[in-house]
Amino acid sequence: MNDMRLTEKSVEANDTKISARGVQVYYGDTHAIKDVDVDIADQTVTAFIGPSGCGKSTFLRCLNRMNDTIDVCRVEGNIKLDGDDIYDKRVDPVQLRAKVGMVFQKPNPFPKSIYDNVAYGPRIHGLTRSKAELDEVVEKSLRRAALWNEVKDRLQAPGTGLSGGQQQRLCIARAVATSPEVLLMDEPCSALDPIATAQVEELIDELRSRFAVIIVTHSMQQAARVSQRTAFFHLGNLVEFGETGQIFTNPSDPRTESYITGRIG
């Protein structure tokens, strides 16, 4: 790992957006996440890396309570978003997810038009008061997702008709449209070709200016390219967490080093 860009990247000390303390996750009898502490900074891209089944996606899904939809899943510990415990009884996961958006591994546009895909979030959350306002949100979101120029003439065409990379950018636009504060991305490029991946990565870097972005990735190069901070998970444990440059050039834990150099994983 001697990508020179790493060292040039500026890492400002931002406010903490999400802080997790002592998080345990159980799937039935399986202990999937063991005692994870992590602080996610605002306006920063944080990458979760680690071998398959290490719990990084599971942990990501805890952050917007997507695990609630799985019956056997149980979460313990304390996760705070801007100081509010998101597992508090009074918190409605629906409100939480409007603040913490998510983009998934496989592009999953709804079988609706491009416009309706993007407008879905603002509509269900009632974010706009008029059609004109909604139009504006849709355009803004599609521009942010760098998709506007490609689709502006066919907003009523079905979203499923786009190419893979376009579909994933549409899903990002859809997530951005609700104006979230945190954006969770679960291997957003794993189903895309290299050109589409480059476009999405570029986009992630731009999104950083507005949101805290957390990305789960299998590709260490990708983590190195897009993130400022990296967390390495192994067998449900958070092994190491720090500046991306430091993790890749000078890991403190031997397991991290083994993974980065390709000996485990």
Binding site: V94, R97, F110, Y120, C171, R174
Partner: protein, 486 residues
């Protein structure tokens, strides 16, 4: 010789063929069965198949054709004068058959012997009273020609019967002997008997085509008869249904079609929301425990025969609706009504709609649900705005299939909807459907060749075309839908 004995003889020949075929193969091998091309069992099997199958086919074919042949021969003996006013040749032929059966009975009971019978003449003896003695009732006096025809019928029947017995046994024995002679050590008995079995398999799969052909042919032929007797224009355009015993009937399909569609509409109006909502609840919300209890419970409804629903409509739902809804609201006093039949049919369709929708909803990929939840949608928003639109083509297909079920359903409407053909809007009024009229016209007392009976075939034709069309569209829609997510 009776049918059963003949069947037993064929089975016996086939069994003997199996045993002898094996034995002959063993002998041909000179004691070392390894010299044979095929196992001894296959030699036995080929003899068995060649003895039994052609003979059984002949037997079946003969039984099918014999009545037609005899009737053709006998029909020539009936003079136009024998046909009573307003009757038809077919009616006289059925008299001939009945007299012939009666004579069989008379002889069987020993009241007459064959030679007496041969000498008996209808103009000298009172045949009708003789038949009545053995419990065979004949509608009218028996004319000499009919009596002679009946005697000829009996004679031919016996002769054909004997001929059949001989022919069938001969074919069985011929197959037996020929295939037994072919056994040599080199004989490829396995290939031959496997080829034979494969041919039987192919023939079996043709039964489906034959059935469809039989349905279309029987509907078409009698419908054409009907339209020769009754103008097609009136059938398709007349707004009244009023069959008369003595001709001059109005046989317009519209009141029946209206009743059919009205009842089906009420049924779907009940079944679609209930079925769809329970499918949604069971697949999206319900706990495993509830699902494992409620799903089979609802599916039991699908296993209950329609006659049970019919009785439920007749005994429970009909009187209930009449006493608590129709009469207090002044909408009529009939316990059989569109509402009764529709509601009960709706219950019958619930499991149909719900299990089809369940499959379809489960075919919607989980990633779409995740996408929606990830944006902060509630479960019901996800169902209504993402899952249902995605599943819509499939659900439309399911509803079309349910509609085709409803249109073709018979017993519930026979027992619940009533028999009066009406174009009415009041759902508490008794109305009737195509299927009800098919049953009543074909089980009534009118003679077969009259338009009042034959209309049932034209109705059947419409029903068949209707349901077939719905099914083809529905299956096409569902298949397209499934391809979308595969």
């Amino acid at each position: 010789m009776t049918f059963g004995v003949l069947l037993l003889i064929i089975v016996a020949i086939a069994a003997a063929g199996y045993v002898l075929g094996r034995q002959r193969a063993r002998n041909a091998s000179g004691g070392d069965t390894r010299r044979l091309h095929s196992l001894t069992g296959y030699h036995g099997q080929s003899v068995m198949l060649f003895s039994a199958v052609p003979a059984l086919l002949l037997l079946g074919l003969w039984l099918l054709l014999q009545p037609m042949l005899i009737e053709n021969r006998v029909a020539g003996m009936i003079q136009p004068g024998d046909i009573p006013e307003g009757g038809s040749a077919e009616l006289v032929m059925s008299d001939v058959r009945r007299v012939a059966d009666g004579l069989d009975l008379v002889v069987a009971q020993g009241a007459l012997n064959e030679s007496d019978l041969a000498a008996m003449r209808a103009d000298l003896t009172n045949v009708r009273s003789r038949l009545a003695e053995v419990g065979v009732a004949v509608g009218s006096e028996i004319s000499p020609n009919v009596f002679q025809a009946a005697k000829e019928y009996r004679r031919l029947d016996t002769r054909f019967g004997t001929a059949m017995t001989i022919a069938v046994i001969a074919v069985a024995l011929a197959g037996f002997a020929l295939s037994l002679r072919r056994i040599t050590p080199e004989y490829r008995a396995r290939n031959v008997s496997e080829g034979f079995v494969l041919t039987l398999f192919i023939a079996s799969s043709l039964v489906a085509i034959l059935t469809t052909f039989g349905i279309v042919a029987s509907l078409l032929v009698e419908s054409v008869h009907f339209f020769q007797l009754y103008p097609a224009k009136d059938f398709f355009l007349s707004l009244t249904w009023n069959p008369q015993f003595r001709g001059g009937s109005d046989l317009g399909i519209w009141p029946l079609l209206w009743g059919t569609l009205y009842v089906s509409f009420v049924a779907l109006l009940f079944a679609v929301p209930v079925g769809l909502m329970s499918a949604i609840y069971l697949s999206e919300y319900a706990s495993k425990r509830l699902r494992s209890l409620a799903k089979p419970a609802i599916e039991i409804l699908a296993g209950i025969p329609t006659i049970v629903y019919g009785l439920f409509a007749l005994v429970t739902v009909g009187p209930f609706l009449r006493d608590y809804f129709a009469q207090p609201m002044g909408l009529g006093s009939s316990s059989s009504s569109v509402m009764t039949a529709g509601l009960v049919m709706g219950i019958m369709l619930i499991p149909f709609v719900s299990s089809l929708s369940d499959d379809i909803i489960n075919a919607v990929p989980q990633s779409l649900r995740d996408g929606s939840y990830g944006l902060g949608a509630t479960q019901s928003e996800t169902v209504r705005q993402v899952i249902l639109p995605a599943a819509l083509p499939g659900i439309v297909g399911a509803i079309l299939l349910a509609a085709s079920r409803a249109i073709g359903e018979t017993m519930i409407v026979v027992m619940g909807a009533g028999a009066a053909a009406k174009l009415d809007i009041n759902p508490f009024e008794a109305m009737t459907t195509i299927t009800v009229k098919i049953v009543s016209q074909l089980t009534g007392d009118t003679e077969f060749a009259s338009p009042e009976t034959l209309v049932a075939f034209a109705l059947g034709m419409c029903l068949f075309v209707f349901t077939l069309g719905l099914n083809i569209v529905a299956l096409y829609v569902v298949r397209k839908y499934r391809e979308q997510y595969e």
